[in-house]
Amino acid sequence: MTSPRMQSNSSAVDTDYVLEVEKLNVYYGSNLAVRDTYLKIPRNQITAFIGPSGCGKSTVIRCFNRLNDLIPGARVEGRVLFDGRDLYAKDVDPVEVRRRIGMVFQKANPFPKSIYENIAFGARINGFKGDMDELVERSLRGAALWDEVKDKLKESGLSLSGGQQQRLCIARTIAIEPEVILMDEPCSALDPISTLRVEDLMHELKQRYTIVIVTHNMQQASRVSDMTAFFNAEATPTGGRVGYLVEFDKTQVIFNSPSQTATQDYVSGRFG
């Protein structure tokens, strides 16, 4: 079928890539979930993964912090280079990978601890030595949550609203100072106002972090991202479905003049 088109970023030759994906195949058991993916994620930009359900975008993002390791039977082929180092090399510790590549999940999942401890936990286990109070405040400010929670840091993280919980999860992620923040449909459970707050936050965060976001919401992708990757799924001869990368380019190009008809159909709402 269509072959994935590499990014045609001719203007900026010296673009710095944080993550480079080469010939990535992901299997769940004997099932091929995503095939033959090549991607280059530029530093300090927001890259969005869009596509219909089951197209493998979440699977790919979960390869970036080796979260697929936790799924029994999951297997990764190909290379995922992070700052030039293969994340799946034998001597790489997945725990260290996850500290440097943080993740915000679809469903806000604060720890059943106080707001303060939610932030402090990650820092403490990663050997943070410094002023914890200051780190907590800085992280909460970074996630635009400080003003709402500064008087109730001792209260449970679960007492916050859904949107606040998701920002707490972002705060806890930036507290461990990762280089990349992965967001797997971070706003799918949030109301429009909370969604806007998280999107504003992403624009601020990209000054310091590289962000990769999976989203079902194409308006969101067009609003927040600099680069967009469109994934699709096709039927396999054996009756399964396999996801693949259709097109990866600047967001403007993907939404206004994509080179693939499947992309054009998807972003114009003809399917998906």
């Binding site: 912090n65 979260l67 936790l70 029994p72 725990v95 260290e96 996850r98 500290r99 943080g102 993740m103 999940f105 469903k107 999942n109 604060p110 720890f111 059943p112 601890k113 936990f121 990650g122 286990i125 990663n126 449970s156 679960l158 999860c169 806890r172 992620t173 507290a175 461990i176």
Partner: protein, 297 residues
Amino acid sequence: MTTPDNTPTSGTTPGTMSYTVAPQRKLFGNIMTGLVIACALLAALPLVSILITVITNGLSRFGPAIFTELPPPPLVDGGGLRNAIVGTLTVMVISAAISVPFGIMAAIYVSEFARDTKLANAVRFGINVLSGVPSIIAGLFAYGVVVLATGTFSAVAGGVALAVLMIPIIERTAEEGLKSIPLEVRQGALGVGATNFQTISQIVLPASLPFLATGVTLALARASGETAALLFTALFNQFDARSVWQPTATLSVLIYNFAISPYKNQQELAWVAAFLIMVFILIVSIIARRLGRRTQF
């Protein structure tokens, strides 16, 4: 805009709404309702009866001497249950010290690591079987493992026997508690760079603490009244046990020994012992229910 015909047409007659309820049908319903109410009351009756008898008989002798004095020889009046109270507490502490870490760690393995593997299912099945093992068999096990090996009946042997009975209860409630913590919370912890051990010990276990405490208290309540398992492990002692490696008196075995004795004083002491066990179980059950309500998910 007006509907031309919104009045009911006279051609069709609406179904009549009056049925005649057969009187015998109604009567049968009432009888059945009465029957289930009677059964419900009857089911509670033994408990009420036991409570009244134990409390009235137990309280008649209840006083400070119960805690400070030893049970006297036959035909001597007065005395208390000091050795049995201390013995019961000793055996319980030993059994808890064995069964709590065992049960909780087994639950951690099954729910966090093995999950749905064959080994996990085998462990689960084994624990189910263990929970159905008669307590006298658990006593036999401790007799073989501890009493024969050490050459003496002891509080330790009694504790091992009770631990065998407590482990399944603790493991099951702990596993249930661990499973109630959503997978997303574990992923969140791993996502900020926690190791498996840090995730379990600092996030999952504290969050499931109410469940763990409930399991432990329920197991303690079960063990506190256990008699058969102690008969030939802790045995009995007319006096204070000087160490955990001596035959030790317990309240439950004291009831067994004294209730069938012909002496009135010993029978009265058996009632007091029964009262003490009931109070202990009541307190522990209330604690367990309180803890169980404090779940966060």
